[in-house]
């Protein structure tokens, strides 16, 4: 059993070690401040992809968090209602949906009618992936709030909605923040839904209705080229992406230990 435990951590350790060896050499100030150069030219960076990923994740969060948290709260508070059962089932189905399917779907409805790729389409595709993750996690966190607390609020004359929001949701908040960060970390690395939505962009762009670069997608693009210089950049981008995800996971850990506790404690 101990051996299995060690084996379970091996892939991560090996991956980190290899990434550091291959990628760290290409990480310099330019990597964070410059946009990609053409083949043959040395230097250049991935500033546009880093910012692109942040924008895409931001759009996804704006969609995924309110919808997911609202739906999760509903499911937890109205556990036996038919709508809650349906939402729970569909969330599980959506959770298991291959992300490439989500990408095709977003392309069909958000890219084809408009006629061109866009950051918005990519963000929406990622947001749709986030919804079921956040829904299920929120429901679980809200369910850990004792019924007694809910009753205490109702007995004080709190209306039902106010009990849900200012007592139940508030008490479950540290747990929900953690779940939200885990969901963000998860979708930040998604590539497939972006292939035919945000598409990628070698240039600096902040426009939501234009194609935009993203780290995972940039890794893919660079890794399949025959140029060693670009391979090095792909490794570096992988390292930065992993670092980003790691940072979010750490933030999630920190959030559970917030003061005044709540359920996460």
């Amino acid at each position: 059993m101990g051996l299995a435990a060690v084996l379970a951590t091996l892939p991560l350790l090996f991956l980190l070690w290899h990434l550091l060896r291959e990628g760290s050499s290409a990480i310099d100030v330019a990597f964070f401040t410059r946009t990609p150069r053409s083949v043959g030219e040395s230097g250049g960076g991935m500033a546009n992809a880093i910012v692109g990923t942040l924008i895409l994740v931001g759009i996804a969060g704006l969609i995924g968090l309110p919808v997911g948290i609202g739906a999760g709260l509903y499911c937890a508070e109205r556990g036996t209602a038919r709508l809650a059962t349906t939402v729970r089932f569909l969330s599980d189905v959506l959770n298991g949906m291959p992300s490439i399917v989500m990408g095709i779907f977003a392309w069909h409805f958000l890219v084809r009618p408009v006629g061109h790729f866009s950051a918005l389409a990519g963000g929406i595709a990622l947001g749709a992936m986030m919804v079921p993750l956040v829904t299920r996690a929120t429901e679980e966190m809200v369910r850990t709030v004792p019924t007694a607390l809910r009753e205490a609020a109702l007995a004080l004359g709190y209306p039902r909605w106010r009990t849900s929001v200012s007592i139940v949701l508030r008490t479950a908040l540290p747990g929900i923040v953690t779940a939200a960060l885990v969901a963000i970390a998860r979708i930040a690395g998604e590539t497939a839904p972006l292939l035919f939505t945000s598409f990628g962009n070698s240039f600096w762009s902040l426009a939501l209705d234009q194609p935009i670069a993203a780290l995972p997608h940039q890794i893919y693009t660079y890794a399949i080229t025959p140029y060693p210089e670009w391979h090095r950049l792909a490794w570096a981008a992988s390292l930065v992406l992993i670092g980003l995800v790691l940072l979010i996971s750490l933030a999630a850990r920190f959030a559970t230990r917030s003061r005044h506790g709540g359920v996460g404690d």
Binding site: L149, L154, A155, Y158, R162, T171, G261
Partner: protein, 269 residues
């Protein structure tokens, strides 16, 4: 100069008056009837204890008095409960309004874990939103409520701390302070000392004593000694039926119903 204080007017001033009148009350969980045709008057300013074996419906009856019973799925109530003369189950009466006049404290302490000690006490009137009193008025009410709950001296220097840092007994008195802060006419205590140690239990009982006269207290307990110690009147319930209600000394010395006698002499329950 000694003055005898009559039962039924514990503060010696106001004449005894019915604060809560229960008329032909049935309470259901789905098809199961947990309270059968209860009829009882709770006298204003008095402490009334409801005793009876587990599952006899005493908590359910209590939860009918602030319309908490109906918050459980499939639960419903038939009959009347007159609070100060007005039926709280009449069409158009808001359960939220009822609960602001009828405070409740539960078996286990339920401080809100995300709130400070101060905010816990203020929680009841903060829920009023725009109609909530000003910040300085709130502070005054918080202090007064904590004093009434006998907790002020223990927490006055750490009002901003989390309420979960308090001991179980302190948490329970905090919940009493929270219930008192909205100045309810009636205070319902549902086995308030069931999860407390003897010393904390004693403090809560002393508190109930001090509240006599100012608030109408109805306390559910399965501890008969406690009922004898704190109450003016005692009601006995068995299998959903309200068997008997009498002044506490009478109840524990010469009960009129043989079932009551059997219970208090320990032959069942």
């Amino acid at each position: 100069m000694a003055r005898s204080v009559e039962r039924g007017s514990p503060n010696g001033l106001a004449p005894a008056k019915t604060m809560v009148a229960v008329r032909q009350l049935d309470a259901y969980f789905g098809a199961h009837r947990a309270v059968l045709g209860a009829a009882i008057d709770f006298v204003g300013g008095e402490v009334t204890a409801i005793i009876g074996p587990s599952g006899c419906g005493k908590s359910t009856l209590l939860r009918c008095l602030n319309r908490m019973h109906e918050t459980v799925p499939t639960a419903r109530v038939e009959g009347e409960v007159l609070l100060d003369g007005r039926d709280i189950y009449r069409r158009g009466v808001s359960p939220i309004e009822v609960r602001r006049h009828v405070g409740m404290v539960f078996q286990r302490p339920t401080p809100f874990p995300t709130m400070s000690i101060r905010d816990n006490v203020a929680a009841g009137f903060r829920a009023l939103g725009l109609r909530a009193p000003s910040r300085s008025d709130q502070d005054a009410i918080v202090e007064q409520s904590l004093r009434r709950a006998g907790l002020w001296d223990e927490v006055s220097d750490r009002l901003r701390d989390s309420a979960t840092a308090l001991s179980g007994g302190q948490q329970q008195r905090l919940c009493i302070a929270r219930a008192l802060a909205t100045r309810p006419k009636v205070l319902l205590l549902d086995e308030p000392t069931a999860s407390l140690d003897p010393l904390s239990t004693q403090k809560v009982e002393e508190l109930v004593h001090q509240l006599r006269g100012a608030v109408t207290v109805i306390i559910v307990t399965h501890n008969m000694q406690q009922a004898a110690r704190v109450s003016d009147r005692t009601a006995f319930m068995l299998a959903g039926e309200l068997v008997e209600i009498a002044p506490t000394p009478t109840m524990f010395t010469t009960p009129s119903d043989p079932r009551t006698e059997a219970y208090i002499t320990g032959r069942f329950g």
